[in-house]
């Protein structure tokens, strides 16, 4: 049997002794995942607070760099190298 033949699924109702059944994830029954409903926002422990604070600082720095670039392009700093 070709590889494609092996991959082609059929309807399986019985598994013979010492056999295995390969099921594509999309053909399988829906799996119960980790429940996230009703969890709400993440608890703000020290590491989460610190990480988000570092992220805010980084974003502010990036915004300042972009602002500098815009002002530089506008000629606010007197000369423009480009």
């Amino acid at each position: 049997m070709s590889v494609l033949g092996l991959l082609r699924p059929t309807t399986v109702t019985e598994i013979p002794e010492n056999h295995f059944v390969v099921v594509h994830p999309l053909d399988d029954v829906h799996e119960q995942k980790m429940s996230t409903s009703g969890l709400g926002a993440m608890p703000m422990n020290a590491s989460v607070k610190l990480s988000l604070m570092a992220l805010r600082a980084y974003l502010i720095l990036m915004m300042l760099l972009v602002l500098y670039h815009v002002l530089d392009l506008a000629g606010v700093f007197g000369r423009h190298a480009h």
Binding site: L6, L7, R8, P9, T10, T11, V12, T13, E14, I15, P16, E17, N18, H19, F20, V21, V22, V23, H24, P25, L26, D27, D28, V29, H30, E31, K33, M34, T36, L39, G40, A41, M42, P43, S47, V48, S51, L52, A54, L55, Y58, L59, L61, M62, L65, V66, Y68, H69, D72, A81
Partner: protein
């Protein structure tokens, strides 16, 4: 569940189960191989689609400037890119939800909106650069972009409209495997094997020493190997494919093989750039390099590089557009699955078609400021990547969501925080260079 039935069957007892679409096999080895093949896809696609038009340009330029001397960086990036995407695998399989949905739920509306808007912006601008590459390659093949670009957009739209995740995945995996042609090109440009092995396994600084040009090229290589859309794409892809808890190990293998494949292809792109360096060819883009290189390496190399440029852009476009559509659908609460026909998920498909169509249309506008768009991509990606990875790392430490089974282990955290800090520094340097080039002395 069928997986539970499997464990019964291996105990030597015949079992009956509710009708299920599958394949009965006798050998455990064959069972493992076929299970892997059914799971295989998202890992390869997320990695290889990252070898998009921008990546081709960056790797070829690296080869043209420094020969094979920067191959060791690719080897270093292999575990980095794997570790990041492996976290995405665990989060996607455990929750069955996309990355954007998780950020919204666990970090609130402000961070959710920030991530979504930033992702959509950087994705869209990247799409414009993908179509610009398609247009460029077509011009070198004497095909009018006004004909070729809309045709490419149409193909990209048709790829997703079949209402079948599997069909889209098969086509996309095939396109990924076409990139093996880069490996076929490698011997034609005659790289020195000893030099390649030395450059790959012995880190070294190219002649000329450390200067601004080298630093920014290294940052560009890192930036093109790890992109923000990859986190959103693979998690949504895993959720759409409905990968199961039992698929974790196979998905990890898929991701690892995808990373290896991508790094090998990236290395071969550097060889092509190296060939241009050896023959003293200077070029402004890979298409021009392909044209000039054909005198030395033949018509096959020229045509292959031009076609592979288009393939890279098509792969990048389908993956990036899907990451936008999935993320938008998750946040808006719209149905968002490739398994759904258009009438059931109109918003999801409209976002995809809109992204592809608009990006293609922009490229066809005469005098479009491509340099400004590339600059925008660099700045926005610099903002996006560290923040997306921070959220990923925090989510992977969220025991409420993942439980003990999928949460990061201490060693994961050490590795990942190190990667995050390095990426923060590199993104900041790149953004500083883009926003304020005068801060850095010329090399």
């Amino acid at each position: 569940m069928p997986n539970e039935v499997l464990s019964i069957s291996t105990a030597g007892v015949e079992a009956t189960l509710p009708p299920v679409r599958g394949r009965v096999v006798r050998s455990r080895w064959l069972y493992s191989v076929l299970t892997f093949l059914t799971v295989f896809g998202p890992g390869l696609i997320v990695m290889e689609a990252d070898n998009d038009a921008g990546a081709v340009s960056t790797y070829v330029q690296a080869g043209a400037q420094y020969g094979t001397r920067l191959l060791w960086i690719l080897l270093l990036l292999l575990p980095v890119t794997y570790f990041i995407q492996e976290m995405v695998v665990r989060l996607g399989i455990a929750t069955g939800k996309g990355h954007a949905a998780m950020i919204y739920q666990r970090f609130g509306r402000w961070w959710g909106l920030f991530s979504l808007v930033d992702l959509q912006l950087v994705n869209f601008l990247t799409l414009v650069t993908e179509f610009a590459a398609i247009s460029l390659a077509l011009s070198h093949m004497n095909i009018a972009p006004k004909v070729g670009v809309p045709l490419a957009a149409l193909v990209l739209v048709v790829m997703v409209l079949s209402g079948s995740y599997r069909r889209w995945e098969r086509v996309t995996v095939f396109l990924c495997l076409l990139d093996l042609a880069w490996v076929a090109i490698a011997p034609k440009v005659r790289p020195a094997v000893g030099e390649i092995l030395h450059s790959t396994f012995v880190p070294g600084i190219p002649a000329g020493g450390v200067n601004a040009s080298l630093i920014f090229l290294v940052i560009a290589i890192v930036g093109t190997t790890i992109a923000p859309w990859q986190l959103f794409f693979q998690q949504s892809c895993i959720a759409d494919k409905r990968l199961r808890f039992s698929d974790v190990k196979w998905t990890r293998l898929d991701t690892f093989l995808g990373a290896v494949f991508t790094i090998i292809v990236a290395g071969c792109m550097m060889f092509a750039g190296n060939a241009a360096k050896i023959h003293g060819i200077s070029f402004s883009d890979p298409a021009q390099m392909a044209n000039d290189l054909h005198v030395f390496s033949g018509e096959f190399v020229r045509s292959a590089i031009l076609l592979l440029m288009i393939n890279a852009a098509v792969l990048g476009t389908t993956a990036i557009s899907l990451s936008s559509s999935w993320a938008y659908g998750e946040v808006k609460g719209w149905p968002h699955s490739l398994e759904m026909p258009i009438r059931q998920a109109p918003g999801f498909y409209f976002t995809y078609v809109g992204c592809v169509g608009l990006a293609a249309a922009i490229v066809l506008i005469p005098g479009v400021p491509l340099q400004l768009i590339i600059l925008g991509v660099q700045v926005l990606a610099g903002i996006m990547l560290p923040s997306a990875i921070i959220f990923l790392q925090l989510l992977l430490n969220d025991k409420e969501v993942l439980g003990k089974q999928f949460v990061n282990q201490p060693w994961n955290n050490w590795v990942n925080w190190t990667i995050i800090i390095v990426l923060f520094i590199l993104s900041l340097i790149l953004a500083a260079q883009v926003a304020a080039p005068n801060l850095f002395p010329a090399s």
